[in-house]
């Protein structure tokens, strides 16, 4: 029973997550992402790969989206509306709530700003969302009679989940993106010992072991605090969702703790809506927020207010969160231009910046920037970099593998070179096979599924009555007949099986001759054999019958003198098929000969 797994996207690559899993005849698509780096056809996964002709709906049993990042759900409307898929799409409640906002934003940028045509429309997003079925954490959802899925907390962003896909007793766990160290607003990923046949895990930080989060947080807070105390302004370019909320909470609690008065602003638009959802989905956040929310919802910021363009020119210290995160356009760039000239001010880049953006330039130390219109902007403000990333590092990945105890691991969503290292480590530590398919490559994983068999109650009772108490940890030998009929397996006692099938019973008897060197008389030999067996087989009933034969349970032993050599006695051992075990043991025992005991 192989599990097939192939990656139209995300194989040895970051972005455009899309994995197809075929498990026990069921086909599941995991994530449906787009690639940030491309603007042509390559931005979406190659869906023609799934099926050349024929509808996707017929081929796929369900689609699962792990979280709302565009590299995991960006291609969804295209896939469902433009390519055409009508089956169920599963995601968690927060993902379902936030996903359309991001998709709409993405659509606006591509269509309205870049002027692309042949892109999905708002209506398509809405239609697509109608196909979504929302799931709760740890809720087992029965997709059809055999396929079931279950979500686990992943901690990467609000609503991020890992999914277990199970058919019969074969299962696959897909992690999506996850984080094993808790942060200020989300908890750590957790999974039980579900022992899947295959664990598909992301491996963004396959070769990194990260420092404690506290150092980074402390540094960040100290930088902000110092600047504010100096009377400077702090600009933090962020993307609207995820890290922004974490940093907000961090600053909010710090402000509260330290009784600071300087204003914090949050640029409007997307974020307000998003914050609203964060407020709603408190149960998806970490322990602290969940516990304190009765007194106060942590996302109802006391110190953080909405930003207005005019505020940028206000005197005095302030902290501003502005979008977008890489300083390439929009509000964050406007503010940056206003504040760059003052060395009291500071800009903190909380994430990675793509080459070519202003963010990347200033981070690499450039102090003079050429803006549009040949304008030269001199950057006097301090530039800081703080990495707040929510992926599991190498240790975290190993920890998750240890928790789930899979029989095989498949690495996706990472760079090939790094995966190689992790793969080697996983094989070495856990002694499980590890795979890292490239895009478009199909991996076949063989599984040893257990097949449930119904046993008739009579047989079970009869068999357990014999011998010692049953112990679930040890296999137990049973005698019975396996009946495969009408796509079901049943274990019956032979008589019933015969009756059901209408067959007559045949007796099968084995007979074996054993030669023994014994000069004595026949009955003496028999007596010696009897005594020997009596001594060895204490648990069985050994009887010496008056006609000179011995019975051990139902096995018959007779001794005759050899026709040619009187010193050799021939022992005739005869047993039925049912007593095969004991019979063969007896023969081997007799073949060893009798003990040279004193007569």
């Amino acid at each position: 029973f192989p599990v097939f797994c192939c990656c139209p996207g995300a194989g040895q690559d970051v972005g455009r997550s899309c994995i197809l899993v075929s498990i026990a005849g069921k086909n599941v698509m995991l994530d449906c992402g787009m690639h940030m780096g491309y603007n042509d056809d390559r931005r979406f996964p190659d869906f023609s790969y799934i099926t050349q002709n024929g509808r996707l709906t017929d081929f796929l049993d369900c689609v699962i989206i792990s979280h709302f990042h565009l590299d995991h759900c960006g291609a969804l409307p295209y896939f469902s509306e433009m390519v055409g898929y009508d089956g169920p799409i599963y995601m968690t409640h927060p993902t379902k709530a936030i996903c359309p906002i991001l998709l709409e934003d993405y659509r606006k940028i591509t269509v309205d700003k870049k002027g692309e045509t042949n892109f999905f429309t708002s209506q398509m997003i809405k239609d697509c969302m109608k196909k979504v079925v929302a799931v709760h954490l740890h809720q087992t959802v029965q997709v059809d009679e055999e396929l079931e899925i279950k979500a686990y907390y992943a901690g990467h962003v609000l609503g991020a989940a890992m999914f277990q896909i199970k058919v019969g007793c074969e299962s696959v766990v897909y992690t999506g993106d996850y984080n094993m160290t808790p942060d200020r607003h989300l908890g750590a990923a957790w999974i039980d010992k579900c022992r899947p046949d295959l664990l598909i895990t992301e491996s963004t930080y396959a070769t990194t072991i990260r420092d404690s989060k506290r150092c980074r947080e402390r540094d960040f807070l100290k930088k902000v605090h110092e600047t504010v105390e100096r009377g400077g302004k702090v600009l933090i370019p962020v993307f609207a969702l995820g890290r922004a909320q974490e940093l907000c909470i961090l600053l909010e609690t710090f402000w509260e703790r330290m009784n600071l008065k300087a204003p914090i602003y949050f640029s409007t638009g997307l974020t307000e809506k998003a914050n609203h959802y964060y407020k709603l989905f408190i149960t998806w956040t970490n322990q602290k927020i969940r516990k304190t929310f009765v007194q106060r919802n942590m996302f109802e910021f006391k110190h953080i207010k909405a930003f207005d363009r005019a505020f940028a020119d206000n005197p005095g210290p302030m902290v501003v969160f502005a979008t977008p995160g890489m300083l390439h356009a929009g509000q964050s760039l406007q503010i940056f231009r206003k504040w760059a000239g003052n060395e009291k001010n500071m800009v903190i880049m909380p994430g990675y910046c793509v080459q070519g953006t202003v963010g990347h330039k200033i981070l690499s130390g450039q102090r003079k920037l050429e803006m549009e219109g040949r304008q030269i902007l001199e950057v006097k403000m301090q530039v800081e970099y703080m990495s707040f990333s929510a992926h599991a590092d190498a240790k975290g990945i190993m920890q998750l593998i240890r928790q789930a105890e899979p029989r095989g691991v498949l690495l996706v969503h990472g760079e090939a070179k790094k995966m190689e290292f992790l793969k080697q480590k996983i094989e070495q530590e856990f002694h499980v096979s590890c795979y890292m398919p490239a895009n478009g490559e199909t991996t076949t994983v063989l599984t040893n599924p257990c097949i449930p068999v119904d046993i008739s109650l009579g047989l079970l009772k009869r068999e357990t009555a014999i011998g010692p108490l049953p112990d679930a940890k040890k296999p137990k030998l049973m005698h019975g007949t396996l009946l495969m009929k009408d796509n079901s397996f049943r274990l019956l006692c032979p008589e019933q099986a015969l009756k059901e099938l209408g067959l007559a019973e045949h007796q099968l008897r084995f007979t074996c001759r054993v030669h023994i060197q014994d000069p004595r008389k026949e009955h003496e030999t028999v007596l010696r054999v009897y005594n020997h067996l009596k001594g060895v087989l204490k648990d069985y009933s050994v009887q010496h019958l008056p006609d000179g034969s011995i019975t051990v349970e139902s096995i018959l032993i007779q001794a005759t003198a050899h026709s040619e050599d009187q010193g050799t006695k021939v022992l005739l051992v005869s047993w039925t098929y049912q007593d095969e075990e004991l019979g063969s043991y007896l023969t081997s025992l007799l073949k060893k000969g009798l003990p040279q005991s004193t007569p």
């Binding site: 808790p182 072991i209 404690s212 703790r257 009784n259 530039v383 190993m398 920890q399 940890k473």
Partner: protein, 969 residues
């Protein structure tokens, strides 16, 4: 001699009375109790259906059964048990049997055989389990009987093969609790079942049911607790259980491993993958560390807690727990901690972060990196970063314990502890600050660490700030910049939170006296002196300036060169501060004050404090006043009281002592004054008005004696006698005054009776102290007792009056340590002009924040009183959780008081104050009775007459402006 004899007679007489009284009460009690067994039997026979029977049993279980009838009840229950077909009724009977055998004073060996017999034919698993539970109770009631235990263990072993997990559970529990502990016993007993309990339990480590596995491990732990030495062979079994699927099994297994590691720390175990061998304690440590990253937080907490107590672990392993080898793209990366350290040691300080500052350096050999080690790698790093704060707290505690035993580890864990100061949960922050304080002997803070520590000073939580001040009191700082930084931050703290003043001054006092050499170079800058120019004299009332001076003066104590740097006004300020804040400013040998100090110094012995001496001298003087005339005595007392009160204000460490004695003298003074009233010489009816003074005095003395008894901690029984004696005198005075002023004899009878009873109880309580009280009021009174008992009230009064006048003044011995309970309400401050507005009829919550010092058992005694302008008073009992204990002898009350009132026309002030509740029944002299019996006796007996409950106000009242508005329609 005659007097002595009389006393003896009287004593015996009282004893007889006492016993009669007791006998009577017990007889009464027995009469009221009904016989239970018969009623139960009737009930059970009446029961027609199992449901009925169950109802009867349930009702029966609610009432207690007296010892004598337990056996009868048990027989009836057993009889019914055999007849009963319904399993639920049998179950209830079985549980009742267990309950009954718990009855105090009942020895259950008589019912044991029956209980074991019931097991034989029982089919229901639930009932079986319950019966085994009953046997367990019976077994634990008979600890002195090994043969019974042996039998019970045998029974349990027999049922270990049961198919129900519940039964097996109970069997294992029973074996664990009752199994033979000494090896010798096991050998002597020839019975088969009692072979090796450990093996029997060990076999169930692999049971199919997780609950049974847990029970097996728990039973093993139970055996260990009872003193059985577990075999080392169990270790490998236990290690396998660490990988169990169920969290409770893992949690118990971690405990077992810990126990074994403590038992066999030095034995050698092999490492499975290689042929190396390590000490068992190290191996166990590694395994438990591994569990710190377990999937279940319960196990994580357990593991983190146990790590702390594994002190024998070798330092190599210990230090690994803090090491998490960082890497980035397969290249070694330094942690932020390492970078900070490097920056510090290279002399460069905080260069500001650059992009790529943390760029990875050397390449790592891919083979050498172990991502999940079997070792202890990074256990604490993980524990401290855990999602659940319970785990983080446990990890911090463990760090604390390990660091206390290993200085090198303390040095290493410092960075991590400092990081925890920024945890999102206050409890964790507080815990880590406390931890740091506990290990502060072993560590010296680096400048960058100090920086982080000091940043927390701005925390808005007072708890955190105070804990941090405590920490700074006992920290070692390495450089003078560090001291300067600390001072600057503390001053900043002071301006932001002026209420922290005392705490900050105290902190600076210790900081100064610990680092005199580091303060020395800072002095000119701190005092802003200039070599050529005179600088303006700073404001003496500025708390910040006082803070600086406290630091400097304390440093100057052990640094004789420092005073040379002071300017003139500094000396003047010193003199002032030495007087006003003597607890913060040490005596200095200053060049300018040489004359004064040298004149005084030879006269006093260096090791005795002059103020203490003064206290004793003045007391001496008072106690020898016998020969003075009444006027002189009064004056002397008045002066001494004044002196003592002043002394208490000046010397905080003597305040308790001085106040205590002053109060006592005050009482005496009042007594003397009252007795010298003219009214005694004149016929009573004429002086109805003048008695005001005497009765007021008596009342005040009573109050003061309660204060003396309950407000001071450290009062010993010697003092309590004297206090009670004083109270007795006051009561006598009261009696006399009433006798003088009231007409008619009837009320006097009662009062006399009561008074005599009090004398009686006084004698009973303090019989051992009586010999020390020669010539006192009580001594004389007891001599006259037989006469008093028989005489009329008017005579009694007469006798009392003369004895009171003749009695001598008792010498009050002082205890070693005496502290007065004080309370200070920090919030509300009482300064607000804005009234607290709320709708009448509704409730408003007022935050009350107060510090309590030297209050014993504040949860039980401290109350909040709210006085409304209309005279209405409200007493609020704060919740026990509202009290915090920041240090020995100190408590902090943070609570909310709910106010409500009908509408007022204009805002008005209410008063909030703290009260100390006392109950003379629970006085310190009488041996403390356990609470349960005390409450029972309350129910049985009417509250005794001398059980006076009252309250003492012990804080300054604070006024709060409130305004209940009429509700809007």
């Amino acid at each position: 001699m005659a007097a002595h004899l009389k006393k003896r007679v009287y004593e015996e007489f009282t004893k007889v009375v006492q016993q009669q009284h007791e006998d009577l009460s017990t007889k009464k009690l027995r009469l009221t109790k009904p016989s239970k067994s018969a009623a139960l039997h009737v009930d059970l026979c009446k029961a027609t259906s199992p449901a009925d029977a169950l109802q009867y049993l349930l009702q029966f279980a609610r009432k207690p059964v007296e010892v004598e009838s337990v056996e009868g009840v048990v027989r009836i229950l057993l009889e019914h048990y055999y007849k009963e077909n319904d399993a639920s009724v049998r179950l209830k009977i079985a549980s009742l049997l267990g309950l009954l055998s718990k009855t105090a004073g009942f020895s259950p060996d008589c019912i044991m055989d029956d209980a074991i017999n019931t097991l034989q034919n029982e089919k229901s698993h639930q009932v079986l389990a319950q019966l085994l539970d009953t046997l367990l109770v019976i077994g634990t009631k008979l600890p002195e009987n090994p043969s019974v235990r042996m039998r019970l263990v045998e029974v349990a072993c027999k049922h270990l093969t049961d198919s129900s997990h519940g039964v097996r559970n109970k069997c294992l529990q029973l074996i664990g609790c009752l199994g033979p502990v000494e090896k010798g016993v096991a050998k002597e007993a020839e019975s088969q079942a009692a072979k090796d309990v450990q093996k029997i339990i060990g076999d169930h480590f692999n049971d199919q049911d997780p609950r049974v596995r847990t029970a097996a491990i728990k039973a093993m732990l139970q055996l260990h607790e009872r003193g059985l030495k577990l075999q080392q062979a169990i270790y490998s079994q236990a290690c396998k259980l660490l990988a169990d699927d169920y969290e409770q099994v893992r949690s118990a297994a971690v405990q077992l491993i810990w126990v074994l590691s403590q038992l066999y720390p030095e034995s050698i175990v092999p490492i499975p993958s290689s042929n190396e061998e390590i000490r068992l304690v190290d191996d166990a440590f590694g395994k438990i560390c591994h569990m710190v990253s377990d999937g279940s937080w319960v196990v994580r907490v357990q593991a983190a807690k146990l790590l702390g107590s594994m002190q024998q672990v070798s330092s190599h392993f210990l230090e690994q727990t803090l090491d998490k080898k960082l890497m980035s793209d397969l290249r070694r990366k330094r942690t932020a901690h390492e970078r900070a350290k490097e920056l510090y040691s290279s002399g460069e300080f905080s260069s500001g972060r650059k992009w790529g500052d943390d760029a990875p350096k050397e390449e790592i050999d891919t083979g050498a990196v172990n991502l999940i080690e079997s070792g202890a790698c990074g256990a604490f790093v993980h524990g401290l970063e855990d999602e659940m704060y319970e785990v983080r707290i446990a990890a911090v505690e463990a760090l604390c314990m390990l660091a206390q035993s290993s200085p090198s580890f303390a040095e290493k864990c410092l960075d991590f502890l400092v990081d925890m100061f920024n945890d999102e949960i206050e409890e964790v922050r507080l815990q880590s600050i406390h931890t740091m304080r506990k290990i502060s002997n072993n560590i010296t803070l680096r400048e960058d660490q100090l920086d982080t520590v000091l940043a927390v000073l701005e925390d808005s939580s007072r708890d955190i700030r105070e804990a941090l001040h405590e920490l700074l009191c006992c920290t070692n700082v390495s450089t003078k910049e560090g001291i300067h930084l600390a001072l600057v931050e503390l001053l900043k703290n002071l301006t932001k939170y002026p209420t922290d003043r005392e705490s900050i001054w105290k902190c600076l006092k210790f900081l100064g006296s610990r680092h005199p050499t580091l303060v020395l170079p800072l002095v000119p800058e701190l005092l802003s002196t200039h070599p050529f120019f005179d600088t303006p004299e700073p404001d003496m009332d500025d708390p910040a300036y006082i803070a600086v001076l406290v630091l400097i003066f304390n440093a100057a104590k052990s640094c004789p060169t420092m005073p040379a740097l002071f300017s003139d006004h500094t000396f003047r300020h010193y003199a002032y501060l030495r007087d006003s804040l003597s607890h913060l400013v040490p005596p200095l040998r200053l060049p300018g004050r040489k004359l004064v100090s040298s004149a005084v110094s030879p006269s006093i012995t260096p090791h005795e404090d002059p103020s203490q001496q003064f206290l004793h001298q003045s007391l001496e003087r008072v106690y020898n006043f016998q020969h003075l005339d009444p006027q002189g005595i009064q004056e002397l007392l008045e002066f001494t009281i004044r002196d003592l009160q002043r002394l208490g204000e000046l010397q905080s460490e003597l305040a308790g002592m001085a106040d205590f004695t002053a109060t006592y003298l005050q009482c005496q003074l009042l007594l003397i004054k009252a007795l010298q009233e003219k009214l005694w010489n004149v016929a009573a009816p004429l002086y109805l008005k003048q008695n005001a003074l005497a009765s007021a005095a008596a009342k005040q003395i009573l109050e003061e004696t309660y204060k003396m008894e309950f407000m001071y901690s450290g009062v010993e029984s010697r003092q309590v006698v004297i206090i009670h004696h004083m109270r007795l005198q006051a009561k006598a005075l009261q009696l006399i005054v009433t006798a003088r002023t009231t007409r008619g004899v009837e009320p006097l009878f009662g009062m006399c009776e009561k008074f005599l009873q009090e004398v009686d109880s006084f004698q009973r309580c303090f019989i051992s102290e009586l010999p020390h009280m020669q010539g006192s009021f009580v001594d004389k009174l007891l001599d006259l007792m037989p006469r008093l008992v028989t005489s009329k009230p008017s005579e009694v009064v007469k006798i009392l009056q003369t004895t009171l006048r003749q009695s001598t003044f008792l010498h009050l011995p002082l205890p070693e340590q005496l502290h007065r309970a004080t309370a200070n309400i920090i919030e509300p401050t009482g300064e607000s002009d804005n009234p607290l507005r709320f709708t009448s009829g509704l409730v408003v919550a007022l935050d009350v924040d107060a510090t309590l010092e030297h209050v014993q058992d504040p949860q039980g005694t401290v109350k909040v009183q709210v006085l409304y302008p209309d005279g209405q008073a409200q007493l609020i009992h704060p919740k026990p959780a509202d009290f915090r204990n920041p240090g020995p002898g100190r408590h902090r009350l943070i609570t909310q008081v709910y106010l409500s009132h009908t509408a007022w026309t204009e805002p008005c002030q209410i008063e909030v104050r703290l009260l100390l509740a006392y109950n003379s029944n629970r006085s310190k002299a009488s041996t403390r009775i356990p609470k349960s019996t005390w409450s029972e006796s309350l129910e049985a007996l009417p509250p005794s007459e001398n059980g006076i409950e009252g309250t003492i106000p012990f804080s300054k009242p604070v006024k709060v402006y409130i305004m209940p508005k009429p509700a809007r329609r």
